[in-house]
């Protein structure tokens, strides 16, 4: 039985092996045709489907089903005997394709692992339809539709899903159809196929519906780091993968994490995650071409803190905190045009970890490093010392706001520190989430009242607010924009001439679990497999689903 099946599999595969050899030979001696690999991928999908569908084709053609079923072999063993040679042939062809892919992957539609999973998925699904479907073309289209459909469904539900998990989940989900087929085949007999189909096809359809439903229920998009550029590009960084979507529905996928650091015109400075989590590199992404324009290698093992606020500047040159291996070494990275300057931090932080570079103080330049409990001032040579204990800190030019447990003090460095404002009582800083700006104004909650603290003027003003502001940042006009969130309502207000003016109120249609992020360019509400973008500029109510 096995010998005959092997012969048949070899006969079926021979033409494909021949084609693969011709392609290899062709590629070796001529220029790479961009259509060759996609054609080959489609052809292989056809083969995988045929290999599965033709499981009982010989019995159908020869009328040998009665003979086959009368043999003293259990149904499951019979299925295994028929399936094993095909599985081997399908695997060998896949490995053969792997060799070609390795050499000429440039033009392939899909990465090898992804293709391999879809290929196996098509095969398994075709096996499950081998008795029920008489038409091969029908089988091919159904299996391709379901396989690619499930694959796309998963991607749609969770854009953060890794290629490996995506492929494996697709294959394993579709393998349930093959398991069902095997179970039903145990009771397969010589009655007309309609008898088998009556009991099998509805269960198969139900199973696939359950698979899709469970996929929908269980697949949750992992929240990553997001960023909305001023042009409306939405960047989603999932650590191992970055997806950039445009307002027009365009989509570019990068197979590495890409955390936005700074946007300038049409370029975005990003921290590029290295494979295997071995730190970051710095790169400049061109938002028009969606290509990495320039890439700088960073010292091995160093990575960026992925918060836009975590940035300082020296004479307009952006500076970033780099954390090294085991959170025990730090460097300040200063970007001067195309040139990088690294300042190794020479301070001993003890058991504490630095998690914030909170700006710089000018004249002379000192970097403000904060561990969460202690504040350090570091000179440009990397040396420095602890300045004081604090609960929070923020800086603006030569001014430093230090939050204490019962008192908050605004210092001016000229160059020695001098307190210019003291606020008694409990003061809590409202964090600027993803503001992207180093602002001269800080929103604080002072004795349960929201107040705006102007670092430049050294003044404090009350803000009438019923709810906690979710985000604030300076807009293009230099006014402070505050975003308030209340369930499905997003209110954007502007602080103009010491008054709060409502700019727009938007309502999100996303229900249930959602995540709202406010960016300098707008607000994005993330739901499961769905998102809404509300842009501040051009006019707030004109875009997204705002009302």
């Amino acid at each position: 039985m096995v010998v005959i099946e092997i012969k048949k599999s070899l006969r079926d595969s021979a033409i494909l092996v021949f084609i693969l050899l011709v392609i290899v030979a062709g590629m070796a001696v001529s220029e790479k045709d961009p259509y060759l690999m996609p054609s080959l991928e489609l052809f292989l999908a056809l083969y995988a489907s045929f290999a599965g569908w033709s499981l009982f084709e010989r019995e159908r053609q020869d009328g040998a089903m009665e003979y086959l079923l009368a043999l003293p072999i259990s149904r499951l063993r019979l299925l295994a005997l028929k399936l094993a040679p095909r599985l081997i042939a399908v695997a060998l062809i896949l490995f053969g394709y792997g060799f070609i892919h390795r050499q000429y992957s440039v033009h392939a539609l899909l990465p090898y692992f992804t293709f391999a999973c879809l290929y196996v998925g098509v095969f398994l699904l075709s096996v499950s339809l081998s008795l029920s479907m008489k038409s091969f073309i029908g089988t091919f289209f159904i299996t391709l539709f379901l396989t690619v459909g499930l694959y796309s469904f998963l991607t749609w539900l969770d854009p953060s899903i890794s290629n490996e998990r995506l492929g494996l989940q697709t294959v394993l989900s579709l393998a349930t159809a093959t398991v069902l087929f095997a179970l039903r085949f145990r009771r397969f007999d010589i009655r007309p196929l309609s008898h088998f189909n009556r009991r099998y096809v509805p269960v198969l359809v139900l199973l696939l519906a359950v698979v899709f439903t469970l996929t929908y229920i269980t697949t949750r998009s992992r929240w990553g780091h997001f960023y909305l550029t001023e042009e409306g590009y939405l960047l989603s960084d999932y650590g191992h993968k970055t997806v950039i979507e445009t307002m027009e529905g365009g989509r570019t996928v990068f197979d590495q994490g890409m955390a936005p650091l700074l946007q300038a015109d049409k370029t975005l400075l990003v921290a590029l995650g290295r494979s295997g989590g071995e730190g970051d590199d710095l790169a400049k992404l061109n938002l028009e071409t969606m290509e990495i324009e320039k890439r700088w290698d960073l010292p091995a093992g160093y990575w960026f803190h992925r918060f836009l606020e975590n940035r300082a500047s020296v004479d307009g040159r952006p500076c970033f905190l780099l954390t090294g291996p085991h959170h025990r070494r730090y460097q300040i990275l200063e970007l001067n045009g195309e040139t990088l300057r690294f300042i190794p931090v020479q301070i001993d932080f003890g058991d504490e970890m630095v998690h914030q570079i909170s700006g710089t103080i000018e004249n002379p330049v000192r970097f403000v490093l904060f561990t969460g409990t202690r504040l350090f001032l570091m000179e440009e040579n990397g040396h420095g010392e602890m300045w004081m204990e604090a609960r929070g800190v923020t800086s603006w030019k030569n001014r430093l706001l230090v939050f204490g447990s019962s008192r908050t003090v605004l210092f001016e460095f000229s160059p020695e520190p001098k307190p210019v404002l003291q606020i008694e009582g409990k003061v809590r800083k409202i964090w600027k989430k993803w503001s992207g700006d180093i602002d001269d104004r800080v929103l604080v909650l002072h004795n349960d009242v929201y107040e705006l603290l102007d670092l430049e003027k050294g003044s404090l003003q009350k803000i009438t607010a019923q709810d906690r502001p979710y985000h604030y940042a300076t807009n293009r006009e230099g006014n402070l924009r505050i975003v308030w969130l209340k369930r499905d309502e997003i209110t954007v207000s502007e602080w103009v001439q010491d008054r709060l003016r409502v700019e727009a109120t938007w309502y999100t249609r996303i229900e249930g679990l959602k995540l709202t992020r406010v960016f300098p360019a707008g607000v994005v509400v993330y739901g499961r497999a769905k998102r809404e973008v509300f842009r501040f500029d051009p006019p707030p109510a004109g875009l997204g689903d705002g009302k």
Binding site: G63, A70, R187
Partner: protein, 273 residues
């Protein structure tokens, strides 16, 4: 012994076999007769595991029928189903690979070139070839569906001779479905007639031949066991079973051959009685 008890097989709503019980012993040869659609093929397929049914399982020599006990049963389907694209040699090797005990010995006057494709054999040749394969596995029971009519007189003789030899030598149990007992009467011990999935007659051949009669008469006494009647206009044929010579029929009584009995039984069904 193959035991079938209370077997019911449905095709959709239709009951092909309805609460049927039958046994076939080793060394016994049984004719399974019945009109088209009476359930012969369904019964044979159920007895060799080709049809899976709910209810009491078929038992073979005291064991439930499964893929292991199926080795004791050889089955020749009416479709003479086989891999037509295989060569004869390959077919023999394929069949041998599925059985531990396999000795291919075709009848002396029947040898097929091994390079020929099975599909190129005539129906008669293919039937005899499949029979040879079936017997090469040394079965205890041989189930043959209605294939005898595929064979020409020469092959039929060869076919029957081979089977007869095995019944005597190896105590082979034979259950053969056929529309007619012509030519095979000599090897049969018992006749089972099916109608609408039920057994309507199950009798040893000798007893059947001595108790199944045809009476030509205008009318018969009401207490006689008339199985069915044929009306020819001028006269009527009454078929009586079981008949004894003490019965007063008032007409000519003909004892029938087995072939005639089978024919009459099936014909009687079509006669609407």
């Amino acid at each position: 012994m193959i035991e079938v008890s209370d077997l019911t097989v449905r095709y959709g709503r239709k009951r092909a076999v309805d609460a049927l019980s039958i046994t076939v012993r080793q060394g016994e040869s049984v004719l399974l007769a019945g009109a088209n659609g009476s359930g012969k093929t369904t019964l044979l397929r159920s007895m060799c595991g080709l049809l899976i049914h709910r209810g009491k399982p078929v038992r073979v020599d005291g064991r439930t029928l499964n893929h292991r006990s199926r080795r004791r049963i050889a089955y020749i389907p009416a479709s003479i189903s086989f891999y037509d694209s295989l060569r004869v040699g390959e077919a023999i090797r394929l069949h041998a690979s599925c059985f531990q005990d396999f000795t291919y010995r075709p009848p002396a006057e029947f040898e097929i070139e091994r390079h020929r494709r099975v599909g190129t054999l005539s129906k008669g040749e293919k039937t005899l070839f499949i029979l040879s394969l079936a017997l090469a596995t040394h079965p205890n029971y041989l189930l043959i569906d209605d294939v005898i009519h595929f064979l020409d007189p020469h092959l039929r003789e060869l076919f029957l001779k081979t089977i007869l030899g095995l019944i005597e030598e190896q105590q082979l149990g034979l259950l053969m479905a056929a529309q007619s007992a012509f030519d095979i009467e000599g090897i049969l011990d018992r006749v089972v007639v099916l109608d609408k999935g039920k057994i309507v007659l199950d009798e040893a051949v000798e007893r059947l031949k001595g108790s199944f009669v045809r009476v030509y008469s205008d009318r018969l006494a009401a207490n006689l066991p008339v199985v069915f009647t044929r009306d020819w206009g001028d006269f009527k044929e009454f078929f009586l079973y079981p008949y004894s010579d003490r019965m007063e029929t008032g007409g000519r009584v003909d004892f029938l051959t087995l072939s005639e009995i089978v024919h009459a039984t099936i014909g009687g069904k079509y006669g609407g009685h």
